[in-house]
């Protein structure tokens, strides 16, 4: 820590030196990298990957490492980071000049790190490789600041509702297709299975709130030129939040404990057989079945219904592969990014992790699946995937847990929907107004 300023200067000099020599080499008539051109002999790329996305990540990366060595001669040093501490790790590595060459970056962070100058702009490389039109829109949008693309779409997922098929069959229930039906189904479960929580509403789970805001026709925030304004106080948004919270406060489909739950607590309660329906990502059923093999064959999924039919939009989140500005091997790094985000490896990663690939071609293949735990999510993603406001300032809103604070204050009765949405909107607008 205390040698930081010195080491940063040194690092910069080193980067400049390497960059200069790379230019000199390029000047000596080697063709611009067209994929093949193995130039990584003896070099090693450091790669940071989030832990837990793919339960079998290690064998996958053994294969990637072998394939990459065959293609370029370079080796990979793959390190796994837990999601929970990853943001801190990125920030401290940026500060200390110890960033990796390539990293998986959550889509909501890419703009933030990119705007701060830590990530390389991939737009020219994507254009040159002819990939410009084949990438999933939502992911490109999330990685774009101005004209720069700071992350290559790698994979994406959405949240829908996962439910217990055995409970539904026993009670003769069908997956709800409207909000009224959602309440009816929940009440039927509550009446027949008093020990079960029909549909827990987690307080600290912002991605469970958004579908109901969007489903009711509301927005989180609206953009006017370059400024953003919160839209949580609109009648539509309030109506959606009211419905969502009343599932707990009025209809009693949740439990008081859930007011402080996170998304992982939803998963745990479902795996323990305590909950009948939960809002869940496409990647969660696999983890649930691993934790509770006895639920095999008893789990299904359906898209989050719209108020009177259709599908409520759900947050399309996922990860980019980004190259750090501090990397001395950016050309080599791009070859790895391309290898992992397109073709065979992208498809394999999607299958293994239950996420969807970041290229439209592969996504459409996945959407045609007949798997009952894949198809509803694919439908939700293709038909009703949405982004949260695409501005690094929204990362600050999320960091402040504005939405979670709003929900938990409503669920505990500390504030009414109108009060809580006004408080949240004011806080959001303050951040939009200048990062304060």
């Amino acid at each position: 820590m205390w040698s930081k300023p010195g080491s940063r200067g040194l690092r910069r000099a080193a980067v400049a030196l390497v960059a200069a020599s790379a230019l000199a080499v390029a000047g000596c008539g080697s063709s611009p990298d067209t994929g093949g051109a193995a130039s990584g002999e003896g070099r090693t790329l450091t790669v940071w990957i989030m832990e837990g996305t793919n339960p079998d990540a290690r064998p996958f990366f053994d294969e990637v490492t072998t394939a990459f060595r065959n293609q370029t001669g370079a080796s990979l040093d793959v390190q796994f980071l837990p999601w929970a501490s990853a943001h801190d790790r990125f920030v401290t590595s940026i500060a200390g000049g110890t960033t990796p060459d390539v990293a998986e970056v959550g889509t909501t962070w890419t703009g933030e790190f990119g705007e701060a100058g830590a990530l390389a702009d991939l737009a020219p490389r994507v254009q040159q490789a002819g990939l410009g039109n084949g990438l999933v829109d939502g992911l490109v949008e999330a990685g774009t600041v101005g004209n720069a693309l700071y992350g290559m779409p790698w994979y994406a997922g959405v949240r829908s509702i996962v439910y217990r098929t055995d409970v539904f069959a026993e009670l003769g229930l069908k997956p709800p297709t409207t909000w009224d039906e959602l309440v009816q189904v929940g009440q039927a479960i509550k009446a027949a299975k008093p020990d079960m929580v029909p549909f827990p509403i987690a307080g600290d789970n912002e991605y469970g709130v958004y579908p109901f805001v969007w489903g009711a026709g509301g927005e989180i925030a609206t953009q006017n030129g370059t400024t953003w304004t919160s839209a949580l106080e609109s009648p539509q948004a309030r109506q959606g939040i009211k419905f969502y919270s009343e599932l707990s406060t009025v209809h009693g489909l949740s439990t008081p404990a859930a007011a402080t739950w996170k998304e992982t607590d939803l998963r745990d309660s479902f795996a323990q057989g305590q909950s009948a329906m939960i809002i869940s990502g496409s990647w969660t059923p696999k983890a649930i079945l691993e934790a509770a093999p006895e639920l095999q064959g008893k789990i299904g999924a359906f898209p989050i219904p719209g108020p009177t039919g259709g599908i409520s939009p759900s947050f399309l989140g996922g990860s980019h592969l980004s190259i750090f500005e501090g990397s001395a091997n950016q050309d080599l790094a791009w070859q790895l990014v391309q290898m992992m985000s397109t073709g065979e490896f992208a498809q394999k990663w999607g299958t293994e992790s239950s996420f969807f690939p970041g290229t439209t071609e592969l996504l459409n293949q996945a959407a045609a699946s007949s798997d009952p735990l894949v198809a509803p999510f694919a439908q939700q993603m293709v038909d009703a995937g949405r982004s949260v406001p695409v501005t690094p300032l929204y990362g600050q809103v999320q960091g402040k847990k504005t939405i979670s604070t709003m929900m938990s204050s409503i669920l505990t009765g500390a504030a009414t929907v109108d009060q809580a949405t006004s408080t949240a909107a004011a806080e959001m607008n303050q951040i939009f107004a200048g990062g304060a």
């Binding site: 205390w2 920030v91 100058g117 830590a118 008081p256 404990a257 739950w261 402040k400 938990s408």
Partner: protein
């Protein structure tokens, strides 16, 4: 803590020798040479970060500044914003101060009571009890916090079930983590449980140095246990109590882990933010390192004032 004791002991009277005759300059340097390695390490690991935090608190320091190495001086803007923020006066400061006062009092009282118990026990029983409380001390704060959270899990937590059986709460609806008072009650249990063994063992060590004759003489004079403690034991152990109180105050003022890891303690439940968690949230979730640093400086300044106040109070008659 040794410095405090070393510094205070000669002052207490009997064997003071006064300034040493014929000071040799080489002898003057020697202690510093011996201290040098420790001072260097402390300077690097404590003093530099401390100064750096103070410097950052005068800047608008975000991720961009972190990456580019640029500096953007804003003077005392961060402090102005901090002191003008209702959250400081309504939430963070009261939460920090009241919680610290309550937990320090509980920790020192409980620790002293346990020490008084220990000193009366035979060697075997003392060994057993000491081991038992050492376990509480040895548990890392993270583990301890999860255990207490587990005990108070709404619905089926053991402690909640017990309180339900006593008719104090309704297990089906109670969530102790959403209410400010009950949140800090659970946190206080955790912090006191983790902190009292240190007090107990330190006070026990002090008690063992109190000459038996004095206590016996007091007993012969007709002093009861309460009187003996306040008239004999406490005055003799004043430096020991100073040390445990000051250290407990420092720990309980800057308590972070035990709050942050509780449900809602990471900023979701705004009414339970304290200076430590607020500083962290501003710095690392908001990337506003300047404001976060200003909060940290405020916390440090507060601690300094309180520590100096304590020491003056405890040693006023003797040497200050």
């Amino acid at each position: 803590m040794t410095t405090v004791r070393e510094r205070t002991r000669p002052g207490r009277g009997a064997v003071t020798t006064g300034p040493r005759p014929g000071r040799d300059p080489r002898k003057n340097i020697r202690p510093w040479l011996l201290l040098a390695p420790a001072l260097l390490v402390m300077g690097g690991l404590l003093l530099y970060p401390l100064l750096r935090v103070a410097v950052i608190s005068l800047q608008d320091f975000g991720l961009r500044e972190l990456v580019s190495g640029r500096t953007d001086w804003v003077g005392f803007d961060n402090y102005a914003e901090l002191l003008g923020d209702g959250q400081l006066w309504r939430t963070a400061l009261p939460n920090t101060v009241v919680f610290a006062v309550a937990t320090v009092a509980l920790t020192v009282v409980l620790g002293t009571l346990v020490a008084l118990l220990l000193v009366r026990l035979g060697p075997v029983a003392r060994g057993v009890v000491t081991t038992a409380i050492m376990v509480a001390w040895a548990i890392p704060a993270v583990t301890g916090t999860y255990v207490w959270v587990f005990l108070f899990t709404p619905g089926d937590g053991l402690a909640i079930q017990a309180l339900d059986a006593l008719g104090l709460v309704d297990a089906a609806t109670a969530n102790p983590f959403t209410d400010r008072l009950s949140f800090f009650a659970v946190a206080a249990l955790n912090v006191v449980h983790h902190g009292f063994p240190f007090v107990a063992l330190t006070v026990l060590a002090g008690l063992l140095t109190v000459p038996q004759e004095i206590t016996e003489a007091a007993t012969v004079d007709g002093a009861n246990a309460w009187r003996r403690f306040w008239s004999v034991t406490f005055p003799m152990l004043r430096p020991v109590f100073a040390v445990v109180t000051v250290l407990s105050t420092i720990w309980d003022f800057k308590v972070f882990t035990q709050i942050y890891l509780m449900p809602g303690g990471d900023g979701v439940t705004r009414s339970v933010l304290n200076l430590g968690t607020w500083s962290y949230v501003e710095s690392f979730a908001q990337n506003r390192y300047g404001l976060g640093a200003a909060i940290a400086v405020l916390l440090t300044a507060l601690l300094l004032v309180i520590t100096v106040g304590y020491l003056r109070l405890l040693f006023r008659e003797d040497e200050l």
